[in-house]
Amino acid sequence: EAGVTQFPSHSVIEKGQTVTLRCDPISGHDNLYWYRRVMGKEIKFLLHFVKESKQDESGMPNNRFLAERTGGTYSTLKVQPAELEDSGVYFCASSPRGLNQPQHFGDGTRLSIL
């Protein structure tokens, strides 16, 4: 079984540019999550999809961040325009149905804003 895959693994862009991160969850997982870890701090929740619907986007920092999951398969997280404080590691996770199912994480995208 393939795990959660994220692309790119590392992105370096300048302040003001746009970046799109992609996450492919484990096949059949309805739940998809985005988290990020900024500057070695705690891993913080961004949002949660159930299939193609946004279940919870309470962790999205501001309207420069846009997440989509068209068709309920892969998801994208776009940052436009990027700011210096957006630098960090963005993790995607997926899980099957059921509230006590563990979330399986991808290797993350390391985003560096210059």
Binding site: V4, Q6, N31, Y33, Y35, K41, E42, I43, K44, F45, H48, Q55, D56, S58, G59, F91, A93, S95, L99, N100, P102, Q103, H104, F105, G106, D107, G108
Partner: protein
């Protein structure tokens, strides 16, 4: 609100000795608790979870954790550490009665096992 505290930024242990990585949590209801491990340049890998039942939970690679409701703790343990256990460990919690499925993570504890 839910929160997790991992009081030690780093734990050092000699190979072959027992190890403990501490975690305390706060939720308004009953918790689901998880431990994850992160190796360099990799994602978080699931180790074990407490959902209900036996307070001692066994997981991958010989790790176990003990749920203590009165102390609101979920410490990670292993009887005999290996050098290959050196990594970053994260404790996470979610309140089973809250809507949504988000995990709240602790700040992480770096485990260093020396030969």
């Amino acid at each position: 609100a839910q929160s997790v505290a991992q009081p030690e930024d780093q734990v050092n242990v000699a190979e072959g000795n027992p190890l403990t990585v501490k975690c305390t949590y706060s939720v308004s209801g009953n918790p689901y608790l998880f431990w994850y491990v992160q190796y360099p340049n990799r994602g978080l890998q699931f180790l074990l979870k407490y959902i209900t039942g036996d307070n001692l939970v066994k997981g991958s690679y010989g790790f176990e954790a003990e749920f203590n409701k009165s102390q609101t703790s979920f410490h990670l343990k292993k009887p005999s550490a290996l050098v290959s256990d050196s990594a970053l460990y994260f404790c996470a919690v979610r309140d089973r009665y809250l809507a949504g499925n988000m995990l709240t993570f602790g700040g992480g504890t770096r485990l260093m096992v020396k030969p």
